[in-house]
Symmetry: C2
Subunit: 247 residues, 2 copies
Protein backbone atom coordinates (compact mmCIF):
# COMPACT_ATOMS: atom_id res chain seq x y z
CA UNK A 1 0.00 0.00 0.00
CA UNK A 2 0.99 3.61 -0.70
CA UNK A 3 -0.17 6.67 1.21
CA UNK A 4 0.03 9.74 -1.01
CA UNK A 5 -0.51 13.31 0.10
CA UNK A 6 -1.19 15.82 -2.64
CA UNK A 7 -0.04 19.21 -1.36
CA UNK A 8 -2.52 22.06 -1.45
CA UNK A 9 0.18 24.08 -3.23
CA UNK A 10 0.08 21.61 -6.13
CA UNK A 11 -3.65 21.60 -6.90
CA UNK A 12 -4.46 25.19 -5.89
CA UNK A 13 -2.83 28.58 -6.22
CA UNK A 14 -2.22 29.19 -2.52
CA UNK A 15 -2.25 32.96 -2.90
CA UNK A 16 -5.65 33.31 -4.58
CA UNK A 17 -8.80 32.31 -2.69
CA UNK A 18 -10.32 29.08 -4.05
CA UNK A 19 -8.13 28.99 -7.17
CA UNK A 20 -8.05 25.43 -8.47
CA UNK A 21 -5.21 24.18 -10.68
CA UNK A 22 -7.38 21.85 -12.70
CA UNK A 23 -4.67 20.85 -15.18
CA UNK A 24 -2.31 19.74 -12.39
CA UNK A 25 -5.15 17.93 -10.61
CA UNK A 26 -6.18 16.02 -13.75
CA UNK A 27 -2.58 15.01 -14.49
CA UNK A 28 -2.17 13.63 -10.95
CA UNK A 29 -5.50 11.78 -11.18
CA UNK A 30 -4.32 10.23 -14.45
CA UNK A 31 -1.08 9.07 -12.79
CA UNK A 32 -2.99 7.60 -9.85
CA UNK A 33 -5.26 5.68 -12.23
CA UNK A 34 -2.18 3.79 -13.47
CA UNK A 35 -1.10 2.76 -9.96
CA UNK A 36 -1.57 -0.96 -9.38
CA UNK A 37 -1.06 -0.90 -5.62
CA UNK A 38 -3.67 -0.06 -3.00
CA UNK A 39 -3.49 3.65 -2.29
CA UNK A 40 -4.89 6.08 0.26
CA UNK A 41 -5.06 9.65 -1.00
CA UNK A 42 -4.87 12.79 1.13
CA UNK A 43 -5.07 16.29 -0.27
CA UNK A 44 -4.28 19.61 1.30
CA UNK A 45 -6.88 22.36 1.52
CA UNK A 46 -4.69 24.90 -0.28
CA UNK A 47 -6.34 28.24 -0.91
CA UNK A 48 -9.78 26.67 -0.28
CA UNK A 49 -8.85 26.44 3.38
CA UNK A 50 -5.71 28.21 4.50
CA UNK A 51 -6.54 31.77 3.50
CA UNK A 52 -9.73 31.90 5.56
CA UNK A 53 -8.32 29.69 8.35
CA UNK A 54 -5.54 32.24 8.71
CA UNK A 55 -7.91 35.22 8.54
CA UNK A 56 -10.24 33.69 11.14
CA UNK A 57 -7.28 32.61 13.31
CA UNK A 58 -8.54 29.04 13.69
CA UNK A 59 -5.28 27.77 15.18
CA UNK A 60 -5.43 30.33 17.98
CA UNK A 61 -8.86 29.02 18.98
CA UNK A 62 -10.86 32.16 18.21
CA UNK A 63 -12.89 31.08 15.16
CA UNK A 64 -16.70 31.28 15.27
CA UNK A 65 -19.02 28.45 14.18
CA UNK A 66 -20.09 30.54 11.16
CA UNK A 67 -16.45 30.83 10.08
CA UNK A 68 -15.75 27.13 10.61
CA UNK A 69 -18.82 26.30 8.55
CA UNK A 70 -17.63 28.56 5.73
CA UNK A 71 -14.12 27.03 5.63
CA UNK A 72 -15.57 23.52 5.77
CA UNK A 73 -17.88 24.26 2.83
CA UNK A 74 -15.02 25.69 0.74
CA UNK A 75 -12.79 22.69 1.44
CA UNK A 76 -15.63 20.34 0.56
CA UNK A 77 -15.85 22.15 -2.78
CA UNK A 78 -12.16 21.42 -3.45
CA UNK A 79 -12.66 17.83 -2.34
CA UNK A 80 -15.53 17.42 -4.81
CA UNK A 81 -13.25 18.69 -7.60
CA UNK A 82 -10.64 16.10 -6.56
CA UNK A 83 -13.28 13.34 -6.50
CA UNK A 84 -14.51 14.39 -9.94
CA UNK A 85 -10.97 14.28 -11.35
CA UNK A 86 -10.23 10.88 -9.81
CA UNK A 87 -13.51 9.26 -10.80
CA UNK A 88 -13.31 10.62 -14.35
CA UNK A 89 -9.94 8.83 -14.66
CA UNK A 90 -11.37 5.57 -13.33
CA UNK A 91 -10.13 5.75 -9.72
CA UNK A 92 -13.00 4.30 -7.64
CA UNK A 93 -12.68 6.68 -4.75
CA UNK A 94 -14.72 7.59 -1.69
CA UNK A 95 -14.32 10.75 0.36
CA UNK A 96 -13.81 10.58 4.14
CA UNK A 97 -13.82 14.02 5.83
CA UNK A 98 -11.56 14.36 8.89
CA UNK A 99 -14.34 15.83 11.07
CA UNK A 100 -15.80 12.32 11.30
CA UNK A 101 -12.60 10.49 12.21
CA UNK A 102 -10.28 12.92 14.04
CA UNK A 103 -10.38 14.68 17.40
CA UNK A 104 -7.57 17.07 18.31
CA UNK A 105 -6.40 18.50 21.63
CA UNK A 106 -4.50 21.79 21.35
CA UNK A 107 -3.89 21.08 17.67
CA UNK A 108 -2.53 17.54 18.10
CA UNK A 109 -4.55 14.48 17.09
CA UNK A 110 -5.82 12.78 20.26
CA UNK A 111 -8.16 10.29 18.59
CA UNK A 112 -8.34 8.77 15.11
CA UNK A 113 -10.91 6.26 13.80
CA UNK A 114 -9.56 4.18 10.91
CA UNK A 115 -12.80 2.25 10.41
CA UNK A 116 -14.23 4.16 7.41
CA UNK A 117 -10.86 3.78 5.64
CA UNK A 118 -10.79 0.03 6.35
CA UNK A 119 -14.34 -0.37 5.09
CA UNK A 120 -13.39 1.38 1.85
CA UNK A 121 -10.17 -0.56 1.22
CA UNK A 122 -11.78 -3.94 1.99
CA UNK A 123 -14.40 -3.13 -0.64
CA UNK A 124 -12.05 -2.10 -3.44
CA UNK A 125 -12.55 1.64 -2.97
CA UNK A 126 -9.76 4.21 -2.75
CA UNK A 127 -10.20 6.41 0.35
CA UNK A 128 -9.66 10.14 -0.10
CA UNK A 129 -9.29 12.41 2.91
CA UNK A 130 -8.09 16.00 3.26
CA UNK A 131 -6.90 18.78 5.49
CA UNK A 132 -9.93 20.45 7.10
CA UNK A 133 -11.46 21.82 10.29
CA UNK A 134 -11.93 19.27 13.09
CA UNK A 135 -13.19 19.32 16.69
CA UNK A 136 -10.59 20.21 19.32
CA UNK A 137 -11.24 19.37 22.98
CA UNK A 138 -9.41 22.51 24.19
CA UNK A 139 -9.53 25.06 21.36
CA UNK A 140 -13.05 24.01 20.27
CA UNK A 141 -11.87 23.86 16.64
CA UNK A 142 -8.53 23.09 15.01
CA UNK A 143 -7.13 22.58 11.55
CA UNK A 144 -6.07 19.00 10.87
CA UNK A 145 -3.51 19.15 8.08
CA UNK A 146 -3.03 16.59 5.35
CA UNK A 147 0.41 15.94 6.85
CA UNK A 148 -1.12 15.10 10.25
CA UNK A 149 -3.43 12.67 8.47
CA UNK A 150 -0.49 11.12 6.59
CA UNK A 151 1.16 10.24 9.91
CA UNK A 152 -2.06 8.74 11.34
CA UNK A 153 -2.68 6.67 8.22
CA UNK A 154 0.94 5.49 8.17
CA UNK A 155 0.62 4.35 11.80
CA UNK A 156 -2.62 2.55 11.10
CA UNK A 157 -1.98 0.96 7.70
CA UNK A 158 1.83 0.51 7.60
CA UNK A 159 2.20 1.44 3.89
CA UNK A 160 5.40 0.68 1.95
CA UNK A 161 6.00 4.40 1.50
CA UNK A 162 4.37 7.78 2.13
CA UNK A 163 4.71 10.06 -0.91
CA UNK A 164 4.29 13.82 -0.49
CA UNK A 165 3.53 15.70 -3.70
CA UNK A 166 4.85 19.24 -3.41
CA UNK A 167 5.33 22.21 -5.73
CA UNK A 168 9.10 21.94 -5.35
CA UNK A 169 11.51 19.26 -6.55
CA UNK A 170 12.21 17.82 -3.09
CA UNK A 171 13.77 18.71 0.25
CA UNK A 172 16.52 21.24 -0.27
CA UNK A 173 19.94 21.17 1.32
CA UNK A 174 21.50 24.29 2.86
CA UNK A 175 23.01 25.23 -0.50
CA UNK A 176 19.65 24.97 -2.30
CA UNK A 177 20.20 21.71 -4.20
CA UNK A 178 17.72 18.83 -3.94
CA UNK A 179 18.68 16.06 -1.55
CA UNK A 180 18.23 12.74 -3.37
CA UNK A 181 18.48 10.28 -0.47
CA UNK A 182 18.68 11.16 3.20
CA UNK A 183 18.54 9.22 6.44
CA UNK A 184 16.01 10.27 9.06
CA UNK A 185 18.93 11.27 11.31
CA UNK A 186 19.82 14.07 8.91
CA UNK A 187 16.31 15.51 8.97
CA UNK A 188 16.65 17.63 12.08
CA UNK A 189 19.54 19.52 10.59
CA UNK A 190 17.71 20.01 7.29
CA UNK A 191 14.62 21.28 9.12
CA UNK A 192 16.58 24.07 10.75
CA UNK A 193 17.49 25.57 7.36
CA UNK A 194 14.56 24.66 5.07
CA UNK A 195 12.02 26.95 6.72
CA UNK A 196 11.52 29.42 3.89
CA UNK A 197 7.88 28.58 3.21
CA UNK A 198 5.14 28.85 5.80
CA UNK A 199 1.43 28.26 5.87
CA UNK A 200 -1.09 27.94 8.68
CA UNK A 201 -0.25 24.26 9.13
CA UNK A 202 3.49 24.82 9.35
CA UNK A 203 5.20 24.52 5.95
CA UNK A 204 8.29 22.45 5.27
CA UNK A 205 9.61 22.48 8.83
CA UNK A 206 6.46 20.77 10.08
CA UNK A 207 6.51 18.39 7.09
CA UNK A 208 10.06 17.33 7.92
CA UNK A 209 8.97 16.75 11.52
CA UNK A 210 6.07 14.56 10.33
CA UNK A 211 8.35 12.65 7.95
CA UNK A 212 10.73 12.07 10.85
CA UNK A 213 7.88 10.46 12.78
CA UNK A 214 6.81 8.34 9.80
CA UNK A 215 10.40 7.15 9.32
CA UNK A 216 10.42 6.38 13.04
CA UNK A 217 7.76 3.76 12.23
CA UNK A 218 10.20 2.18 9.76
CA UNK A 219 8.34 3.60 6.75
CA UNK A 220 10.24 5.61 4.10
CA UNK A 221 8.90 8.92 2.80
CA UNK A 222 9.37 10.75 -0.46
CA UNK A 223 8.93 14.37 -1.53
CA UNK A 224 8.20 14.60 -5.25
CA UNK A 225 7.22 17.50 -7.48
CA UNK A 226 3.50 16.96 -8.13
CA UNK A 227 3.56 19.37 -11.06
CA UNK A 228 5.79 16.94 -13.00
CA UNK A 229 3.30 14.21 -13.87
CA UNK A 230 5.88 11.69 -15.10
CA UNK A 231 7.52 11.86 -11.66
CA UNK A 232 4.19 11.20 -9.94
CA UNK A 233 3.56 8.15 -12.08
CA UNK A 234 7.09 6.86 -11.46
CA UNK A 235 6.87 7.56 -7.72
CA UNK A 236 3.79 5.32 -7.59
CA UNK A 237 5.95 2.55 -9.10
CA UNK A 238 8.60 3.11 -6.43
CA UNK A 239 10.95 5.10 -8.68
CA UNK A 240 11.53 8.36 -6.77
CA UNK A 241 12.78 11.44 -8.60
CA UNK A 242 12.83 13.91 -5.73
CA UNK A 243 13.90 13.26 -2.14
CA UNK A 244 13.74 9.79 -0.63
CA UNK A 245 13.88 9.83 3.17
CA UNK A 246 14.92 6.51 4.66
CA UNK A 247 14.25 5.29 8.21
CA UNK B 1 -34.02 19.70 19.48
CA UNK B 2 -35.66 18.96 16.14
CA UNK B 3 -34.61 16.31 13.64
CA UNK B 4 -35.73 17.30 10.15
CA UNK B 5 -35.52 15.14 7.07
CA UNK B 6 -35.82 16.92 3.74
CA UNK B 7 -37.17 14.41 1.25
CA UNK B 8 -35.21 13.88 -1.95
CA UNK B 9 -38.50 14.43 -3.81
CA UNK B 10 -38.66 17.99 -2.43
CA UNK B 11 -35.21 19.26 -3.44
CA UNK B 12 -34.77 17.22 -6.64
CA UNK B 13 -36.91 16.12 -9.54
CA UNK B 14 -36.81 12.40 -8.83
CA UNK B 15 -37.43 11.47 -12.46
CA UNK B 16 -34.56 13.42 -14.01
CA UNK B 17 -30.96 12.48 -13.17
CA UNK B 18 -29.31 15.06 -10.91
CA UNK B 19 -32.06 17.66 -11.34
CA UNK B 20 -31.88 20.07 -8.41
CA UNK B 21 -34.90 22.12 -7.33
CA UNK B 22 -32.89 25.13 -6.25
CA UNK B 23 -35.87 27.35 -5.51
CA UNK B 24 -37.39 24.79 -3.12
CA UNK B 25 -34.00 24.20 -1.50
CA UNK B 26 -33.38 27.90 -0.90
CA UNK B 27 -36.86 28.39 0.56
CA UNK B 28 -36.30 25.53 3.02
CA UNK B 29 -32.85 26.87 3.96
CA UNK B 30 -34.46 30.26 4.65
CA UNK B 31 -37.06 28.62 6.92
CA UNK B 32 -34.36 26.68 8.78
CA UNK B 33 -32.39 29.89 9.34
CA UNK B 34 -35.35 31.23 11.37
CA UNK B 35 -35.48 28.16 13.64
CA UNK B 36 -34.34 28.97 17.17
CA UNK B 37 -34.05 25.38 18.37
CA UNK B 38 -31.11 23.05 17.84
CA UNK B 39 -31.69 21.10 14.66
CA UNK B 40 -30.16 18.11 12.89
CA UNK B 41 -30.81 18.08 9.15
CA UNK B 42 -31.01 15.01 6.94
CA UNK B 43 -31.64 15.15 3.22
CA UNK B 44 -32.57 12.43 0.79
CA UNK B 45 -30.43 11.67 -2.25
CA UNK B 46 -33.31 12.16 -4.69
CA UNK B 47 -32.35 11.84 -8.34
CA UNK B 48 -28.66 12.31 -7.41
CA UNK B 49 -28.74 8.85 -5.87
CA UNK B 50 -31.81 6.74 -6.50
CA UNK B 51 -31.76 6.58 -10.29
CA UNK B 52 -28.25 5.09 -10.46
CA UNK B 53 -28.70 3.05 -7.25
CA UNK B 54 -31.68 1.43 -8.92
CA UNK B 55 -29.88 0.94 -12.24
CA UNK B 56 -26.85 -0.62 -10.52
CA UNK B 57 -29.09 -2.70 -8.21
CA UNK B 58 -27.25 -1.65 -5.05
CA UNK B 59 -29.89 -3.09 -2.73
CA UNK B 60 -29.55 -6.54 -4.28
CA UNK B 61 -25.82 -6.50 -3.49
CA UNK B 62 -24.53 -6.56 -7.05
CA UNK B 63 -23.05 -3.05 -7.41
CA UNK B 64 -19.38 -2.65 -8.37
CA UNK B 65 -16.93 -0.32 -6.58
CA UNK B 66 -16.86 1.93 -9.67
CA UNK B 67 -20.65 2.29 -9.50
CA UNK B 68 -20.65 2.95 -5.75
CA UNK B 69 -18.00 5.60 -6.26
CA UNK B 70 -20.09 7.27 -8.97
CA UNK B 71 -23.26 7.36 -6.85
CA UNK B 72 -21.31 8.64 -3.86
CA UNK B 73 -19.82 11.47 -5.93
CA UNK B 74 -23.23 12.49 -7.30
CA UNK B 75 -24.79 12.52 -3.83
CA UNK B 76 -21.87 14.58 -2.52
CA UNK B 77 -22.65 17.08 -5.27
CA UNK B 78 -26.24 17.40 -4.02
CA UNK B 79 -24.97 17.68 -0.45
CA UNK B 80 -22.67 20.54 -1.44
CA UNK B 81 -25.65 22.35 -3.00
CA UNK B 82 -27.56 21.88 0.28
CA UNK B 83 -24.58 23.16 2.30
CA UNK B 84 -24.29 26.18 0.00
CA UNK B 85 -27.98 27.00 0.43
CA UNK B 86 -27.87 26.62 4.22
CA UNK B 87 -24.66 28.58 4.72
CA UNK B 88 -25.80 31.38 2.41
CA UNK B 89 -28.86 31.77 4.68
CA UNK B 90 -26.72 31.87 7.81
CA UNK B 91 -27.17 28.27 9.02
CA UNK B 92 -23.74 27.27 10.40
CA UNK B 93 -23.79 23.73 9.15
CA UNK B 94 -21.31 20.88 8.81
CA UNK B 95 -21.74 17.84 6.60
CA UNK B 96 -21.41 14.31 8.02
CA UNK B 97 -21.56 11.58 5.35
CA UNK B 98 -23.14 8.28 6.45
CA UNK B 99 -20.21 6.16 5.16
CA UNK B 100 -18.23 7.36 8.18
CA UNK B 101 -20.86 6.67 10.83
CA UNK B 102 -23.08 3.80 9.63
CA UNK B 103 -22.54 0.09 9.02
CA UNK B 104 -25.42 -1.99 7.67
CA UNK B 105 -26.06 -5.73 7.61
CA UNK B 106 -28.45 -6.88 4.88
CA UNK B 107 -29.71 -3.32 4.54
CA UNK B 108 -30.40 -2.71 8.24
CA UNK B 109 -28.21 -0.43 10.35
CA UNK B 110 -26.05 -2.60 12.63
CA UNK B 111 -23.77 0.16 13.92
CA UNK B 112 -24.10 3.93 14.22
CA UNK B 113 -21.51 6.39 15.61
CA UNK B 114 -23.13 9.57 16.94
CA UNK B 115 -19.80 11.20 17.89
CA UNK B 116 -19.34 13.53 14.89
CA UNK B 117 -22.92 14.80 15.41
CA UNK B 118 -22.28 15.42 19.12
CA UNK B 119 -19.05 17.25 18.35
CA UNK B 120 -20.91 19.52 15.94
CA UNK B 121 -23.87 20.27 18.23
CA UNK B 122 -21.64 20.96 21.26
CA UNK B 123 -19.79 23.53 19.14
CA UNK B 124 -22.81 25.42 17.83
CA UNK B 125 -22.78 23.78 14.40
CA UNK B 126 -25.82 22.27 12.66
CA UNK B 127 -25.07 18.71 11.49
CA UNK B 128 -26.25 17.78 8.01
CA UNK B 129 -26.31 14.15 6.90
CA UNK B 130 -27.94 12.43 3.93
CA UNK B 131 -29.03 9.22 2.29
CA UNK B 132 -26.02 7.62 0.59
CA UNK B 133 -24.07 4.42 -0.02
CA UNK B 134 -22.65 2.75 3.11
CA UNK B 135 -20.66 -0.41 3.89
CA UNK B 136 -22.76 -3.54 4.43
CA UNK B 137 -21.23 -6.55 6.19
CA UNK B 138 -23.21 -9.02 4.05
CA UNK B 139 -24.08 -7.26 0.78
CA UNK B 140 -20.75 -5.36 0.68
CA UNK B 141 -22.63 -2.11 -0.05
CA UNK B 142 -26.09 -0.84 0.88
CA UNK B 143 -28.10 2.34 0.58
CA UNK B 144 -28.73 4.03 3.92
CA UNK B 145 -31.81 6.19 3.46
CA UNK B 146 -32.47 9.51 5.10
CA UNK B 147 -35.38 7.83 6.89
CA UNK B 148 -33.05 5.18 8.39
CA UNK B 149 -30.83 8.02 9.62
CA UNK B 150 -33.83 9.86 11.10
CA UNK B 151 -34.59 6.83 13.28
CA UNK B 152 -30.96 6.49 14.43
CA UNK B 153 -30.70 10.19 15.27
CA UNK B 154 -34.04 10.10 17.10
CA UNK B 155 -32.78 7.16 19.20
CA UNK B 156 -29.53 8.92 19.98
CA UNK B 157 -30.63 12.52 20.54
CA UNK B 158 -34.26 12.19 21.74
CA UNK B 159 -35.54 15.25 19.82
CA UNK B 160 -38.93 16.83 20.60
CA UNK B 161 -40.15 15.90 17.13
CA UNK B 162 -38.96 14.41 13.85
CA UNK B 163 -40.28 16.39 10.88
CA UNK B 164 -40.35 14.78 7.43
CA UNK B 165 -40.59 17.24 4.54
CA UNK B 166 -42.32 15.56 1.63
CA UNK B 167 -43.73 16.63 -1.75
CA UNK B 168 -47.25 15.79 -0.58
CA UNK B 169 -49.43 17.46 2.05
CA UNK B 170 -49.16 14.64 4.60
CA UNK B 171 -50.10 11.01 5.13
CA UNK B 172 -53.25 10.21 3.21
CA UNK B 173 -56.20 8.23 4.48
CA UNK B 174 -57.84 5.51 2.40
CA UNK B 175 -60.15 8.08 0.80
CA UNK B 176 -57.25 10.34 -0.21
CA UNK B 177 -57.70 13.13 2.34
CA UNK B 178 -54.82 14.26 4.57
CA UNK B 179 -54.83 12.85 8.08
CA UNK B 180 -54.28 15.74 10.50
CA UNK B 181 -53.53 13.84 13.74
CA UNK B 182 -53.08 10.11 14.08
CA UNK B 183 -51.96 7.79 16.84
CA UNK B 184 -49.13 5.38 16.13
CA UNK B 185 -51.61 2.51 16.52
CA UNK B 186 -53.41 3.65 13.37
CA UNK B 187 -50.23 3.64 11.32
CA UNK B 188 -50.22 -0.04 10.38
CA UNK B 189 -53.61 0.27 8.79
CA UNK B 190 -52.61 3.43 6.92
CA UNK B 191 -49.43 1.77 5.64
CA UNK B 192 -51.41 -0.98 3.98
CA UNK B 193 -53.23 1.50 1.75
CA UNK B 194 -50.75 4.39 1.27
CA UNK B 195 -48.30 2.46 -0.87
CA UNK B 196 -48.79 4.32 -4.14
CA UNK B 197 -45.29 5.78 -4.35
CA UNK B 198 -42.15 3.68 -4.37
CA UNK B 199 -38.46 4.37 -4.62
CA UNK B 200 -35.38 2.25 -3.99
CA UNK B 201 -35.55 2.97 -0.27
CA UNK B 202 -39.19 2.01 0.06
CA UNK B 203 -41.51 5.01 -0.33
CA UNK B 204 -44.32 5.89 2.04
CA UNK B 205 -44.84 2.38 3.39
CA UNK B 206 -41.27 2.28 4.68
CA UNK B 207 -41.59 5.86 5.99
CA UNK B 208 -44.68 4.92 7.98
CA UNK B 209 -42.78 1.93 9.40
CA UNK B 210 -39.89 4.23 10.43
CA UNK B 211 -42.32 6.74 11.96
CA UNK B 212 -43.91 3.89 13.90
CA UNK B 213 -40.52 3.07 15.38
CA UNK B 214 -39.78 6.72 16.21
CA UNK B 215 -43.17 7.05 17.92
CA UNK B 216 -42.29 3.86 19.78
CA UNK B 217 -39.50 5.90 21.41
CA UNK B 218 -42.13 8.36 22.63
CA UNK B 219 -41.19 10.95 19.99
CA UNK B 220 -43.89 12.43 17.72
CA UNK B 221 -43.38 12.72 13.96
CA UNK B 222 -44.80 15.05 11.36
CA UNK B 223 -45.14 14.87 7.59
CA UNK B 224 -45.25 18.35 6.08
CA UNK B 225 -45.22 19.57 2.49
CA UNK B 226 -41.68 20.92 2.00
CA UNK B 227 -42.73 22.81 -1.13
CA UNK B 228 -44.93 25.11 1.01
CA UNK B 229 -42.29 27.22 2.75
CA UNK B 230 -44.66 28.84 5.26
CA UNK B 231 -45.54 25.34 6.50
CA UNK B 232 -41.85 24.47 6.94
CA UNK B 233 -41.25 27.58 8.98
CA UNK B 234 -44.33 26.92 11.11
CA UNK B 235 -43.43 23.25 11.56
CA UNK B 236 -40.09 24.35 13.03
CA UNK B 237 -42.07 26.37 15.60
CA UNK B 238 -44.16 23.30 16.46
CA UNK B 239 -47.20 24.35 14.41
CA UNK B 240 -47.85 21.39 12.11
CA UNK B 241 -49.91 21.84 8.94
CA UNK B 242 -49.73 18.33 7.55
CA UNK B 243 -49.91 15.07 9.48
CA UNK B 244 -48.91 14.88 13.13
CA UNK B 245 -48.24 11.32 14.28
CA UNK B 246 -48.42 10.91 18.04
CA UNK B 247 -46.85 8.12 20.12
Amino acid sequence: MIVMKIGGSVITDKKRLKALRLHALNAIAESISKCEEEIIIIHGAGSFGHILADKYRVTSGSALPSQISEIHRDVRELNLAVMNALISKGVHSISIPPWDVVVMSMGSISSFSPRPFKHAIERGLTPVTFGDVVPDTIRVFSICSGDDLALMLAKEFAPNIVVFLSDVDGVLSANGSVLRRVRVGELEEIASVADGRADVTGGMKRKVEIMGKICGLGIPCAVVNGLASDRVERALRGDIEGTLILP
